[in-house]
């Protein structure tokens, strides 16, 4: 079904492309928001992805690879967005200085907060790798193809990225040394 739509869209059938875009946009938007951490940037990236997909669709040699090709276009658009904004933006990382006692519910919230912070600290390439593999459930060889890197590089980068995420959680879980007020350490 999808291949038929791709074939028709390749021949310039706009309705067929609209159907393909409607089926893909939810996933593309979610992945872009995860990679870019900004809804507006994600919207721009997805728009760019789908416009490029329409423009370059006749050059796609194998319609069966449409999804992988689309993910690759999304990744490129996201990286382009990051580069575009990197020239105009300074990021300021705010670290909380108070550590209140936490019950279980708030501990989960804190974990999520740490995940959020750790994920945001990763570069866009590493986030894309995680999103394609852990969120879109693409097998690692497909991820490597989408990112345009060798499989071995994809594996090692994914390992490093997840290690960084775990380290962010571990750092938060580390027991803190409390000092009584007025007492020397």
């Amino acid at each position: 079904m999808q291949q038929d739509l791709v074939e028709r869209a390749r021949r310039g059938d706009h309705d067929a492309f609209a159907a393909l875009a409607a089926a893909a946009i939810l996933q593309l938007d979610a992945a872009a928001r995860l990679i870019l951490r900004d809804p507006e940037q994600a919207k721009d990236a997805v728009q760019e992805t789908l416009v490029r997909a329409w423009r370059d669709l006749p050059t796609l040699r194998s319609p069966a690879r449409f999804d992988a090709w689309l993910h690759r276009l999304l990744y490129r658009s996201c990286i382009d967005e990051v580069r575009r904004l990197r020239r105009h933006r300074f990021d300021v990382d705010l670290t909380p200085i108070d550590h209140p006692d936490l019950d279980d519910a708030t501990a989960v919230m804190a974990d999520r907060d740490q995940l959020e912070r750790g994920f945001s600290r990763l570069d866009a390439e590493a986030r894309a790798l995680i999103v394609l593999h852990h969120y879109l459930d693409l097998p690692l060889p497909e991820v490597a193809i989408a990112l345009g890197i060798p499989l071995g590089t994809a594996k090692s980068r994914l390992h490093r990225a997840l290690q960084a995420m775990r380290a962010a959680l571990d750092a938060d879980a580390r027991p803190r040394v409390e000092f009584a007020e007025g007492q020397p350490a």
């Binding site: 706009h14 946009i25 728009q47 423009r55 370059d56 050059t59 040699r61 194998s62 852990h134």
Partner: protein, 197 residues
């Protein structure tokens, strides 16, 4: 359940939460843009012509801009070097027309002689009979006699006329009926000396 599994489960949940559920509302905007966008012809992409393994693995994509600049510069240098080599190695054009065989015929006194284009290796082809003093240079092998126009043999003015173009057309003999002419702008040195000097 290991800590590793815990982390993976928590991370996947977190990714799902972050991704959200709402359908984006900008699809129409995109489709309007695509209507205004022309599709690229299939042949205009490298991916259409190169092997899939090469293009789809993205090995072409991450080449940095500096590398492309270096490649272009290297190609320019190579092209310049090739032009230089070709220019230096350029040889003179080979002789053409009547001089194609590398020899020029001329009248020396009563003899029909041939010499190399530079005037060397002069040799007598034949001794001319009386009154056969005007020849087409192309008629080296078969000298053609022209009707007597009253010019005495050995007359230097006549010798000069012999080398001027299209003054008189020879009759018979020369198949293409071309008249006497200078082949390379100047006759061989010794010819010049004898007949003009």
């Amino acid at each position: 359940m290991t800590a590793h599994d815990d982390f993976n489960a928590m991370f996947s949940d977190w990714l799902d939460d972050q991704a959200g559920r709402g359908a984006p509302d900008y699809l129409d905007e995109i489709l309007v843009r695509t209507i205004r966008t022309r599709q690229r012809p299939a042949w205009s992409s490298l991916e259409r012509w190169l092997p899939v393994q090469l293009t789809f693995s993205g090995r072409l994509a991450p080449i940095p801009r500096l590398a492309w600049i270096m490649v272009v510069l290297a190609m320019l240098v190579l092209a310049a070097a090739a032009l230089l080599v070709v220019g230096v190695g350029q040889r003179r054009l080979p002789h053409f027309g009547a001089a194609a065989n590398g020899q020029i015929a001329f009248v020396d006194g009563g003899n029909l002689k041939v010499a190399a284009a530079d005037g060397t290796n002069s040799s007598t082809l034949t001794v001319l009979p009386d009154g056969a003093e005007r020849f087409d240079l192309r008629a080296r092998r078969h000298p053609v006699r022209l009707p007597d126009d009253g010019i005495r043999p050995g007359d230097r003015r006549h010798q000069r006329r012999r080398l001027e173009p299209d003054r008189r057309r020879p009759r018979g003999g020369d198949r293409d009926r071309r008249s006497v002419r200078l082949v390379a702008g100047q006759p061989p040195t010794h010819l010049h000396d004898r007949h003009r000097g």
